[in-house]
Symmetry: C2
Subunit: 176 residues, 2 copies
């Protein structure tokens, strides 16, 4: 993809392509469009991260709450976004044993009860066994630490989604 | 609906019901959940408005950019949210004459070109003739005024959507 072309996009075209780099938060992509022209694709990402950092704690918690559970109800009901579906499949979360599913459901429930937001991890950079291990470990953290960890993972997911879009010559619009 | 029940909701239940009171911005509802318990339903709305006001200008522009054009491509392609579909239908925007459609398309294009966000109006409180008149008039505003006007309309839409939810005993979850 050509940076010049991206800088010339209408906000609608920009949203069609980058609207879900932060899960179910097209407002962030839409806000970042105001920052054109970008001097690099990294500049798009940096603007997204700046916007996230400018949000109050409740806004950051809000971002996490827009994320689905791993191997949760959206996966079962087929209502995951295209990107989440792909990421969860790649990490092996669509082919769990019944024992793994049981453990993950239990840990997800404990995590949400403790923190008030879901466990977010860049699934594409991991595998199901490590994800369960990490969830178990992060469950011990303090809420303030876990908010930072979750937002760090959101940024990793954003980076991977940007790479995916840039690798494809002509990305498919995201259905939001 | 019972306020006590709302205050006891998980963030997932809260999002299922109130997730689209600001069009395609579930992050705002998700952030506001952190403010429980609410002492009234007005308190939910006030928290939403506080959150919007805390955003930088680009964030407010981002909210407007998450809104569809009136009688635009999402209406034609059937991809409007349930709420927008209903609001546009009630205002008569699904039954435009070809002349009205032509005028609206032209004015929408001029508006987006001038302001970099779509014309947002609480369609449910209006009718197509008045909407076209208002669009024509607001096209003359300065961008800073128009951002304020747009956000005011977002709040009116939010208020109407809240009323709709509260009038129904058991609201249908919004599909985001």
């Amino acid at each position: 993809m050509d940076l010049q072309a991206v800088n010339s996009m209408s906000y609608e075209q920009f949203l069609d392509i980058f609207g879900n780099i932060i899960e179910k938060c097209p407002i962030i992509t839409a806000a970042v469009w105001s920052r054109r022209p970008f001097s690099s694709f990294g500049g798009v990402e940096d603007s997204v991260y700046d916007f996230i950092e400018s949000l109050p704690i409740s806004g950051k918690e809000g971002i996490l709450r827009c994320h689905p559970d791993l191997a949760g109800r959206e996966l079962t009901s087929g209502t995951l976004t295209m990107e989440s579906q792909q990421e969860q499949r790649q990490a092996g979360l669509t082919s769990l044993s019944s024992r793994e599913r049981e453990i993950l459901t239990l840990l997800n429930t404990q995590y949400k009860k403790k923190f008030g937001f879901p466990f977010v991890i860049c699934a594409k950079m991991s595998v199901k066994e490590k994800i369960i291990e990490e969830l178990n470990a992060r469950l011990q953290n303090d809420p303030s630490i876990e908010l930072l960890k979750g937002i760090d993972e959101v940024k990793k997911i954003c980076h991977m989604r940007m790479e995916d879009i840039l690798c494809k010559g002509s990305p498919m619009p995201t259905k939001l």
